[in-house]
């Protein structure tokens, strides 16, 4: 049986999610043995033409060309997996969605007229159908290995659908909101990172994006009780998954 082929693609992003693949030091050679890495420019000069069994797509869509390019990638991919906060929610660069793009461009570039960019940063799913999403800024390399393993085994990858709190409780991490009064987005954030922030005594900043059915209104009401003003509440929701609908709406009502 031929090994399934893998392609890795990049859009507006920091490379951190695809780096997570190279960070699977213990599994990398086994992965490279089990699947054919057909297109992965960050790691290899070699590029085999499509179609591909599995495409990992990092980054968000921010330019007209990229909005076209993703369609070609979709057409060549049997299974398309969006990896990371950029690809699943628009990433940190989606903060532009809430601001005036021209003003932003002028702030960074002496000649903003050279730029050809879209007014918004949008997730891959806003442009083409996506089969699976790996969340996080960056993704968890354990979830990435699980994805590859599940694809090889023909099963659904185990990707939690519940809130970050479940990981904290299972891990025995004290709730930073209850025990320290720190604002934490964990209750409305998808699990998967391994409760990294609360484990170091820090409130979750929501990098895995909202959990399904997130009750952001109740969450932000609690933040207000903890002493955050409207602007702080808005900024708390506006980080790496700011454009995810639940967080975007929650931010609208504040600040």
């Amino acid at each position: 049986m031929a090994r399934p082929t893998l392609a890795v693609w990049k859009f507006a992003s920091c490379d951190g999610c695809q780096l997570s693949l190279l960070d699977c030091e213990d599994e990398l050679l086994a992965i490279a043995g089990a699947i054919e890495i057909a297109h992965f420019p960050e790691a290899s000069r070699k590029s085999v033409a499509g179609p591909y069994d599995l495409s990992l797509v990092e980054g968000s869509i921010t330019t007209p060309e990229d909005a076209e390019r993703i369609k070609h990638i979709r057409a060549q991919s049997h299974s398309l997996v969006a990896i990371g906060a950029c690809a699943t929610a628009g990433g940190i660069q989606s903060l532009r969605n809430f601001a005036d793009l021209d003003g932003m461009a002028a702030a960074v570039y002496p000649r903003p007229d050279y730029l050809d960019v879209l007014a918004t940063s949008t997730p891959i799913s806003a442009h083409v159908p996506v089969d699976i999403e790996l969340h996080g800024c960056p993704i968890s390399k354990y979830q990435l290995v699980e994805l590859v393993t599940a694809v090889l085994a023909g099963r659904r990858p185990r990707l939690p659908k519940f809130a970050q709190c479940v990981e904290c409780k299972a891990h025995g991490t004290a709730c930073v909101m209850v025990a320290e009064g720190q604002p934490c987005l964990g209750p409305v954030t998808l699990a998967g990172c391994g409760n990294l922030c609360p484990r170091v005594g820090r409130g979750c900043y929501g990098c895995f994006g909202p959990v399904e059915g997130a009750n952001v209104a109740a969450m932000t009401a609690r933040f207000a009780e903890l002493g955050l003003d409207a602007r702080q509440i808005r900024d708390a929701l506006r980080s790496f998954t700011a454009a995810a609908p639940a967080f975007a709406e929650g931010g609208q009502g504040n600040g």
Binding site: A153, G154, R155, R156
Partner: protein, 273 residues
């Protein structure tokens, strides 16, 4: 079932695999080592596809050699893997679990088996048992379309042997001259000639279909404590430990899946229970 390790599957082999349509297959299983406990009509086993997962699958009968049979529809990864298995493939089995159809208790009464879609699979062993008494059972079976009627060959055989069989489809196809509509439409003809008070009914199918059917039957005079439904809920352990299959106070895996209508009639009217 091995009482010491209720979560550990027994190693089984597919003795034969029979396609029942596009995405449905019946597997006959035999243990590779050791023995399987029998299992009564209405009970289910947890079938494990290696590395993929487990699914609750009802017994759809036993073959002449007493080997359990399961009819499975491919809806997700596990059931896809199970339905793709060929003779010789190995899988894990835990069970049997749950309550069965109270077939023996219906002696002297007329049994009406009402099946929606794949719901005919768990009813099949009950129908076969009841059919030992000529004229004791009638079968109502509804399907989406004529080509998704389950056990089509067996249905004709039953009819030929004198068991009344009423078929209906949601969407007719060219050449279909039978009924079109829900199973409710089959109930008046199926009940005709029987004293409803002396009729017992076993229902299996989608929850909405069972709710409407049970209501219609009791409206027609079939006693609510003579109607049984086979319920479905998410299920992970099969032995009342995982909590997933709770339906009000009942664990579907342990107190069900076959539950008596009068016990759950109120619950059936509640949303999201």
């Amino acid at each position: 079932m091995d009482g010491a390790a209720p979560m550990l599957p027994v190693r089984c082999r597919v003795a034969s695999a029979q396609a029942e349509g596009a995405d449905v297959a019946t597997l006959t299983l035999e243990p590779v080592a050791g023995a399987l406990s029998g299992g009564a009509p209405g009970q289910f086993n947890m079938l494990y596809a290696f590395g993929i997962g487990e699914a609750a699958i009802s017994l759809s009968g036993h073959d002449e050699a007493g080997r359990p049979m399961h009819t499975i529809r491919a809806v997700g990864a596990t059931t896809r893997a199970l339905t793709a298995m060929e003779a010789g493939a190995e899988l894990g089995l835990r069970g049997p679990f749950g309550t069965g159809w109270p077939v023996a208790d219906q002696a002297g009464r007329h049994l009406l088996a009402v099946a929606g879609g794949l719901g005919l699979a768990p009813l099949r062993p009950a129908i076969l048992a009841a059919a030992a008494q000529p004229g004791a059972v009638s079968v109502v079976h509804g399907a989406r379309s004529p080509d998704t009627l389950l056990y089509a060959g067996e249905l004709s055989a039953w009819a030929a042997e004198g068991t009344p069989v009423y078929l209906t489809v949601d969407h007719a196809a060219p050449g279909w001259t039978g009924r079109v509509g829900t199973v409710i439409g089959c109930l008046p003809p199926a009940l005709a000639g029987h004293d409803p008070a002396a009729v017992s009914a076993f229902l299996c199918g989608p929850e909405v279909m069972m709710r409407a059917t049970a209501q219609a039957l009791s409206d027609a005079g079939v006693p609510p404590d003579r109607i049984w439904l086979s319920m479905e809920r998410n299920m992970k352990c099969g032995i009342g430990l995982c909590g997933h299959c709770q339906y009000g106070p009942d664990f579907i895996c342990r107190d069900g899946p076959v539950l008596r209508y009068d016990r759950i009639a109120a619950r059936l009217t509640l949303r999201e229970i």
